[in-house]
Each structure stands twice: as C-alpha cells, then as structure tokens.
Symmetry: D3
Subunit: 266 residues, 6 copies
C-alpha cells in the first residue's frame, strides 16, 4: 500500500521530519511518500495562507492519482482543501486535525488543542464543528510561537507547549491533548512523557487511520458531493489546473517552466 503524505506548506525540513515519524509507525508493506508543493506559503498561519497553499496541495493529490497512491494525508492542522482533495482522490483522504480529534475522542471524555498562533484558534474550532468534535473539544489554546520557530535549535517551544498543555489539563477539564500543528510531530513523545495523559499528533494519527481504511478497502464516495470535478477549461495562468478532460492552455503552462513540478491534470 502507498500513502502520500502532503505537507501543504513548502518547508521541506518539516516535510522530511513528518515522513520519518510516519514511516516508523506503519506496517510492513506500507510505503509513505512525504511531499510539499513547489509553490505557496512556507507556513500556514491564517485563512489567506491556507487559500494559497491549497492549489499546490491539490496538484499533489492529482499527481498522486496518476501515480496510483492508495490514500492521502493532508498534513497541516487547518486541513486545507480537504473536500476538494476528496473530489480528486479515489482512496481515502484524511486531514491531520480530523484524525487527531477523532482519535482523541475515543481515548478521553474531552481534549484540548494546543496550537501555535492565537489567530488560528478559530480555524480549529471550525474544524471541530465540521467533524462533529465540538462536544469533545474543551478548548483551543495557543502558545503564540510562529510555526517555523517550533523546531529551531534552542527553541523554547517544547517547554511552552508543555506549559500550555498543563494549563489545559488543569483549567479546561480536558483529559487528553491534541497537538495543533504538524510542526509539533517530532515533539509528541517528549510532551506525552511530561504529561502522563494521551497526547495525539495528527500526522501519525492520520497516516495510521488512512492505512487502516485502505486495508479495509474503503474508498472515498464518488457519488454526490465528492464526485470528480466537472471537466472544464480554466482560464489564464490557472489553465494548468483544469480538471481532467478539458484541454489545457499550453501558452500559460510552458513545459519546463521554472520551479514547476508536473501539475497538469488529466
């Protein structure tokens, strides 16, 4: 089985770390390929970043379909482009916020999310609602550290996360923690050791859930809302994103364009 783990931001260091964590946990015979799109924001810290990360992410899903992947993980805690990705993919597509919240909901009566920036707390609440998880989500807390500072050498982020998790356990009535950023994956074990409650990292949780769903031969429903995008020709520089079946505009997507990876759909 082959799972494609897509970090929607362009920071390869994070992508590589996630891939490594995931590969350590999958069953024999499961291959995990971790990628980032070639264009878009290096970190996702708001709705605008998210909107501009999504085209690159979707191109990676579409490429994954051509390459025969069995399932996908969207490895940013905002789960950007999740439903659009489901339109493209045959196999399961799971977001890391989705996987982490669902997992935490079966391990504890309630969890708190600890994320990076306060401005993204609303995004996490919207996702909790979308997934039916508001009844388990006790709070969404932020440490106000930028995503890319999480793993800088000498960063105090780990300590800040542990402190905020402690407050969550003391003040929120939470009995488990959901880590609210893909960049926290590598810190998960250390945080759990410090806290003695379940600490769920979405990246690994999503990879294992997708692995399980694929093993069960379950796929994305291709009726209704998640049917393939209707074929049509997109205009201008986005012609290359035209859903399969529509001719693309060669002028706007010259072969060998700088920095381009094979995004052409269909």
């Amino acid at each position: 089985m082959r799972i494609k783990l897509i970090n929607p931001n362009t920071t390869q260091r994070m992508t590589a770390a996630m891939g490594q964590c995931a590969r350590a946990l999958v069953a024999p015979g499961t291959e995990v390929v971790a990628v980032s799109p070639p264009m878009g924001p290096p970190s996702i810290e708001g709705y605008y970043d998210e909107a501009l990360a999504t085209p690159g992410l979707l191109a990676e899903i579409e490429a994954g379909e051509r390459d025969g992947f069995d399932g996908y993980v969207i490895a940013c805690f905002g789960d950007p482009g999740l439903y659009a990705a489901r339109e493209l993919a045959r196999g399961p597509v799971v977001g890391i916020a989705e996987a982490a919240m669902h997992a935490a909901s079966v391990l504890a009566p309630g969890f708190s999310v600890v994320t990076t920036l306060a401005r993204t707390r609303g995004m996490a609440w919207h996702l909790a609602e979308r997934y039916g998880m508001t009844r388990f989500c006790r709070n969404v807390r932020a440490i106000d550290v930028a995503v890319l500072e999480l793993d800088e050498p000498g960063s105090s982020a780990r300590l800040a996360i542990v402190d905020e998790c402690r407050r969550a356990l003391d003040e929120d009535g939470a009995d488990a923690i959901v880590l609210g950023c893909a960049g926290m994956t590598t810190l998960c074990a250390q945080i759990e050791d410090a806290l003695a409650v379940p600490v769920v990292d979405g990246v690994t949780a999503a990879v294992k859930w997708v692995e399980g769903l694929v093993a069960l031969r379950l796929v994305t429903a291709k009726r209704g809302e998640f049917a393939r995008p209707l074929p049509k020709r997109y205009d201008g520089e986005f012609a290359r994103f035209s859903p399969a079946g529509a001719a693309t505009d060669p002028a706007s997507d010259p072969p060998g364009a700088p920095g381009a990876r094979p995004l052409r759909f269909g």
Copy 2:
C-alpha cells in the same frame, strides 16, 4: 462610496450582468465596480473549482485595497475565500449566500435555497451552518442545470427554477426563496412575479448590505482572526501572492507576464 463586486469565476458576461443589476439599486454616490479575476474556473461547481477560484478572487481584493475600495461583495453562492478576504480588507466583505440567507431570515420564518447542481447542495448547507442560518433554511434544492446554461438564449432554466421554487413552497414549509447562484440575479424579478413570495437574490442583497455597513462606517475587525496575513515570502510561482511586507520573487512573476493583471501584493 466605492464597492467592488467580485465574481470569482472568469465569465465576464455574468460579471457584467451582475454589475448592471447592482448599479440599478444603489444610492446616488455609490459606485459599483464589477470584476472577475483573469485566471481560474469559468464556473464554480464544486470544492475543487472553488479552491482554484480563490487565489484570483483574493488578488482582486488586495488590488481593491490598493485602489481604496470601501467594501466588497464575493459574488458566487459558495462565498469562496470569504475569511481570507476579510484578512485582506479594511472595509466590510460580504458573500452573496451570506447576504441572501441573512435577508431571507428577517422576511420569513424559513426559506429554501434553489441552486443549480445537486453536488453543490452540501456547500450551501455548510454555509448555512457557518452563518447560523440552519434554523431558517428548510431545504436546499437543485435544478441540475449547469451554471453557464442559466442565461443561454432559449434556456428553460427560468421555468425549471420556478417549478423547483413551487415545490419548495409546497413541500418544505418555506415561505421565501433564496436563489442559490449568482447567475440567477437577472432572473430574480421574473421568478418573484411568478411566485408571490419573497425571492432573495444574493448579489443585490450583498451590495445593498455592504452599502449600508459602509454608510454606518463599520469595518472588518482587524484584531484576531481577521488581522492582515503575516508577511512572508511565498515560494515558486505563487511568490506574487506573498502578503505585503515580504519581497516577491521577480523571476517567477515577470512584469508584463501574459494575461496578468496587477496581482502583486504590497
């Protein structure tokens, strides 16, 4: 006052029609500029279309900020990019689904939405939830006519809409209708005449609401979730979308690139 009405799809014919309807309704002194982005899908009929329409839409918002617009309307019934747009804009930003549902909720105990394609009904329900309108939304119905066929000469779309509206009134317990597609704007008056209940078109409802909010000198909250995007440099071909403050990559966004309108932020 100047309001920018952005049709997120690239079909100029629709854009022009919406602008005309809107201009007929605004107060003296209100200017409405209707635009479409130069790139992206010609119609939005699913999550993937929506995701690829959003970058162009957001570039139009950012351009609007440079041009000093007082408020914005996002003129597609999925309200794509609404929260990202609010991060960019000083003034109010209203989506047409948002405006139509809010208006209908003060005119009738409940409304039904009549839209084009069945696959987009879930999107409308998600928006109703997001806006707090599920308690008023009795049903979301589709006529299964493609967006671009709505105003084709000889199209039977108007009759199909009227029929579906009648079913909504008879079967759903709805006492008002929300038209679920920007392409229905020009048909609104005819449909209302046929039905004798309030029929709300989101394009005009949104323009009038934004006009009212601007008159009240109300703006988008720039604290917290809708603060300006953090400045950072985006990678690759999306460097041109980098939020203000970050240097853009000149190589990937050459001046005078074919089909480009001034998208550079900051």
Copy 3:
C-alpha cells in the same frame, strides 16, 4: 421611501435622539419617522415591561400600515413584538438586536453584547438563539445602569460602557461590540473611538438594513406564520386592538379618550 422607527418605550427624549441619528445616515429620498406609543413603560427592563410595551408598539405598526410606510424598525434591544409586527406589516420589520447581531456577525468572528441591566442578559441570549447568532455571540455583559440614566447629564454611563467593552475584548474572545440598548445610540461613535474595534449600534444598523431591503423591493412573507392576524373581535377594553375586519366595541374605546392616539385597526 418611508421608514417608521418605533421606540416601544414612551420616553420621547430617546425617540427623538434615535430619529436624529438615523436621519443622518439614510440616503437622499429616505424619510425616517420616529415615534413612541402613547402608553406603556417609559423603559423596558424585563419581560413584564416588554409585554406591556408590545400593544402600543403594535398599534404603531398598524397605524404605519394605514399611513403607507415601507418598512419598520423596532427600536428596543429586546425586539419586543417582532413576530406580531411581521403579521401586521407588508414591508420588512427588523429589530435592533437582530440588525446589530447580524451586522456584527459579518464584521468579526465574534462579538460581545454590552447592555444595561444584568437581569436582561437572558433576553439577549434568547434573541441570539432565535436569530442563529449564538455562534457569534461570545458574551452578554451588563453595566448595571438603568436605561433612563444612560443619557442623564453628568452620567458616567459612557465610561462604564467603555470599560465593560474593554473587558469583553480582553476576556471573551470578542473582536467586535454590539451595544445592547437603544439608549446607547448617541454614544456609539465615542465608544468606537475609544476601542478601535467595530462597535455596532442596532438602531442605525436596523434603519440601514430596512432601507436596503426596501430598495430591493423585498417584503415580509405573507404566507404561513406571518400572515395577517385572523379577523376577530377582541373583548373589553382591548376591543380597539381587534384585528381589521372585526367590528370594534365603541363603548370600550370612546373617541377622545384621554391620552389616546388613533390605535383602531382596520
């Protein structure tokens, strides 16, 4: 276009101030008439006050229908008699809590209401629920100042409101403020200056919303729940309120009764 702004309490000083604020904001050609009923409570600070303010309010709506008004604003933050008013009116009827909450919901991720008396906080929550706004309403706070003290010379109410608003922004996760009393209309600009976040006054928000809805030629749905009251003859001293079509009892409503304004329906 003619809009009738009805202050359901009998304090003419407040009525006049609201009218002045509203007239400063409407488009050329829009006339705003501000009135109070001749009988009932001078301020509305609980359910009982509200119940006794409603008959006078409804008489003003019915009189407005005879006078050909195009739309109505109910200018008390409890939105008393809103649905009964919609039964009477052809045009739109909007309450000020309704207008303020809807407007705030498109400007900020969440708002707090700041009102006068703690005992009315539950009323505001009930309205938020009724309008679908609980998801945006972060808190309802009270300064515990009586309505009629708000604009007394030398009142410290404005400072108390600003202080409470600051607490709302700091403690509630709100990014906008809704003023929870019609008597705060005249203070709105000053409060907003002090806070640098959107501050929504319902009186002006409602007037502009009704103006917009009337411009769109939208009316109240007269099917179902908001159909005209069934004609019947009321008994005793309330015979004068009998819905149109029923003969009134002349004995109980003598012409020239003290303090009476023309309330007779039909």
Copy 4:
C-alpha cells in the same frame, strides 16, 4: 393549596371546561380556580393575538399574588407571557405546552404535537426549542380547524384530531401525542382511547405538575431574570399596569371603568 388556572383568551366556556377537568384530578386539599381576563382576544391563533392576550393574563397573575395563590397555570398552548408571569409570581408558573412536552418526553422516545391552525406550528416549535424539547418533538401537525370550532356541537374536530394523530404515529416516528390546544382538553380521554398511545393534554399535565412543585415547597427563583419587575410608572392608558411601587395615574384608570376587573398592581 390554591392553584390559579388562567385561560389567556376570553372565552369563558373554555375556561369553565378546563377548570372542571383540572378539579377532577387534583388531590384533596388542592383548590383550582379557573379564570379568563376581561379583555383581549377570544382565541389565540397567532403572534398578534398572543401579544394582546398577555396584558390581561399578567393582570390575572398579579391579582393572584394579592390573593395568595400558590402556583399558576397558563392555559394556552403558546404559553404567552410565561417569563413575565414568572417575574410577578412567587410560586411556580407552568405553561401547558411546557407541561405537556416535558411529560411526553418521559413517557415516550418522541412525540408529535397536533394543533389547530397551521400558522401556529412555528410557535410550537419555538416553544419546543425554548424548553429543550426539540429532541423529543418529532413533528407539529395542524388540523386547520379554528380554536373556537373545537367544541361546537356536531363539530368533526375530534375525528380530525384522531386522524391526524394516526398520521403522526405512522409517519413521524412518534410514540406519543401532545394535544396542541387548551380547547382539546375535554377530548383527551376519547382521543387516547382511539389511539392506544399516551396522549398528553397540557392543561391537566400543568395543573398536576404545579401541584407537585408546590407540595415540594418549590418556588420561582427571584434572583436574576425572574426578579420582580422594577417599579416604575407606566404612561397613558397602561398606567394601571404599572408594577407595584409606582403611583398609578388615576385619570387613565378610573374606578369602575366598564368591564374592568381589579387589575391595578401594587
């Protein structure tokens, strides 16, 4: 113990019938006094009727307080003025929709309401929400018979109700019936006999619930929202409704006014 059962409409025939049904069910030592206000609508079939029935109802509550009643029942299925009545009363006040829905919720997994006019179905849904009963309320159905026709000699109302109840059991997934009109009280036993499921009449359910609460020495909370109305002087012809503590205006409420019962508060 003394319980005041208030029919908020002025139709004494209904009031007498309700009193008779109630008195047959109370324990020895419980006295039930059934009254109607002297003014207002003879039947309540919409929001406007309800608003104009409320002042008379509240005057009866206030009179009841002076007369030392231990608890109250508001005997109209819209539960008009319930919260205002709680501001006035020391003892418990229960509405008949409230009592019926609560009772049905402990007897069956779900119930349907069968009421008179379709236009009042929304009112019943609002009450279900207010009381937390939406999760039990499967449907609200109407037979479209006017309230005052229910007990006319030769009326086919009983058969229509039984038919509609049968549809509720067959189509709604309901396993119990709530009768949605005080005028159906006298028909309850016959309907239950025909259906073999629990059929709850709110009038008797409310009387027994109030009787139980009074036996438990439970009273209405007089802190916060249900505290006594603030004393103030009402204006004009409603001066007589001024809450206790405020001087009333003798001119507007002359002793011995035609049809008046002792409404003066305080």
Copy 5:
C-alpha cells in the same frame, strides 16, 4: 396508587431515608415502597458501578410489574437503566436526575448541579443532554466527598455542599440548584434555608412527578423503543434475567440461592 422507589445501590440506610422523605410529601392514597436490589454496588460512583447496579434495578422493576405498581422512581442521580426499565414497565418510570432537572428548568432561567465526586460530572452532563436540559444546566460541580460519607455522623458534607452551591450562584449564572446525589435528599431543606434560592432534590421531585403522571392515567409508550423486551432465553448465570416468555435455566438459578430475591421474570 402505588409507587416503587428503587435505590439502585445496596445501601439500605439511604433507601430508608429516601422512602421517609418521599412518604412525607405524597397525597393521601399514595403508597411509596422504597427498595434496594440484593446485589450490586453499595454506592454508584462511575460507569462501572452503574453497569453493575443495573441488573438488580431491572429485577426490581420486573418484580414491581408482577406486584402491580403504578409507577417507578430510579433513585440514583445517574438514572441507571432508565430506558431498559421503560421497556419493562407499563406505568411511568422517572429518574431523579431527570425529575430534578426538568423541575429546575421551570423555576429558574438556569441551574447548577452540585454532586459528590468530580469523576461523575460527565455523567450528569450526558443526562442533561439526553433530557434536553443542557440549555438550562449552567455547570456541574463536585464537592469530592464519597457518596457514603454524605450522612455519616459529624460529616462536613452539608457545609461543603452549601459552599459549593454559593459558588454556583456567584460564578455560574445559576439561579437554582439541583442536588446531584440521592444521598443529599435529607439535606435538601437545610441547604435551601441557607441559600434562599430553589434547591431541587431529585428523589422527592421524581416521586411527585410520577404521582402526577399516574393521576393523569399516563403510561409509558409501549410502541417502538420502549416495547417489552423480546422474549428470549439468556445464557448461564443470567438465565434468571431472561425476559418473560423464555424458559429459564433452573440449574443456574437454584431456588433458595444465597441472598437471592425473586428476580425471575415472567
């Protein structure tokens, strides 16, 4: 009328005290029989205790049916086995959490529950949701005193409860208190005296509610979900619990087994 009050734990001292409180409040002609099952936990302080208390409770219900009881009260604040009991019983079955929450919801805008152990707070929230009472339940607080210490001589439990109730009134916005443990029944009057707000004890509230429902001749719906259990033969040592109609296994349920009371169903 005969009401069976079942304390699902085996502590007879509590059972006797509850019976005494209940008998003091019922009408002439109402007999209250208070029992505990012969086996199971002596106190219920978690889901496991609850699960093991339920078989004994259900056996008491089934025995009650054979003995012709008219209604039942389940006298543990977790309302264990409520729906299973409704499958068995003809008459009404009410849980004490259910009765207390419903009663409090008609006496005050909101209540807080004060219970014994923190670990059971989630159970109370689940019940509030199940009964539609979350909108009234402001908080669930615990004093962290074990159930069986409540009435120990010299226990400070009463003072701890009063203190916690005061905090609920001050901090939660609650205007009434629900006592969250059957063991608090005997303390109810003292607590209410100390607080001057309604304090609802579920045991007595449930007994009076059942008494009222039986007086109204209302029964449990025997269609659908609460129909009698399907007859079948249970295996092994639980054969004695086999629902009526199935032969029991005499070997596993020897006559005169130690501590056995007549549990055989049917």
Copy 6:
C-alpha cells in the same frame, strides 16, 4: 500486539465469524482474540438485552487486562458498556458503531445506517449523538429481521439489506452505508459489490482503528471520567464483580460454579 474482540452476546457462531473477518485484515504481528461472555442474552435487541449483556462484557475486559491485552473492540452495534469498559482498560476501547460512524464520516458527506430491528433505531441515533456523528448520519433504517436470522442458511437477509441500502442512497441523501449489526460483518463485501458506494462494517473498522491507536502507543486517559473504578465491595451475587482492591464474598461466588468463567476482578 494483542487485541481482544468481545462480542457481548453469547452466540459463539457470530463471535467466531467476526474473529475470522478481523484476523484476515490485521497486520503481521497483530493477534485478535474473539470471545463472548458465558452469560447473558444470545442477541441484543433493546435496552434490556443491552443492560444484561454488559456485566459479562465488562468481566471480559477485566480478564483482558489481567491477560495483558493492548486494546479492545466491543462488537455489538449498541456499543454497550463502552464507558465502563474504558474505566477498566489501560489501552484503547472502541465500539463498532463508533468505529463505523467515524470511518464513514471521512469517506462521504453523509451515511445511513441499516440495522436489523426498528426498535433499535433510537439506540443508533443516541450513539450518533454521543460520538458527534449526527451531522453525518442521514437516517437509521431497519429491515426488521432478527439478529440471529441474519446468517441462517437460506436467509433472505442479505437481499433485504441491499434493498434497504438502495433506498437509503436514493431517499436519504446518503453516499455511504454503515452496517448496523455485528452480524452483518460477513455480508459486507457482497453488499458493497452490489451498491458501488462505501459500505462500512464496524467490526473490522474497529479492529483496524484499535490496531492503529495501539501502534501509536495511545491509551485511554486514566484521569477523570475514565479512571479505574473506585475499589469497593459489591453485595450479594455480584460480589464477584467487585472492582479490584475490595475483598470478594466467597460464599456468593463458589469456585466451580456452573458455567462460570474466571470473572473475579483484582
């Protein structure tokens, strides 16, 4: 890793079939042990059956803890005893309704459940609510076939299920199916072949989810609600169920009692 799959009913034929299905899907190194309790109902078709199946189930969990199992699946669609089981277990415990609904929620916009008996539909709805899945659950349908008839030779159950699934897809707006009975596990592949939409069987879904959670080293939160039961001595014939730490009563649990498996806790 060792997973204990517990069928809470006593029908070994079903248990063996589930074990076989599960073992075919787990990774190398995962052992699945499938068991039934020795006592209780042979099928679970209501709340009473469920209550009497739970003690045996919990004894199997406790025995599993002594035997060092890493995780548990409760293999009955009512997920009986789930929270009590979490009190006992260190590792994850997942119910099959829980696993199936969560899985379906990431594969399709909405699913319908197809179960055996109509009387259990309410149970499924309660679970959907408990897990946050009501927003995905479009309907719960029953074929009205008894659980033990599902796999009888010549049974038409499979056809009945397929027919009901088709109706769900046509009428409910569902795009995936959840099989609502553990006894349908063996039919899952055939049903999916007939329908061409995702069909989720909870038994295998739960086994794979638990396997994934254990691989992630995630455990049940042992703070708060799911802490070990407090040690105490249970009375009478249930003394053997006393939570660890309390002495058991040897008289009531003689060694070698007929049909007994080692249930003694601690």
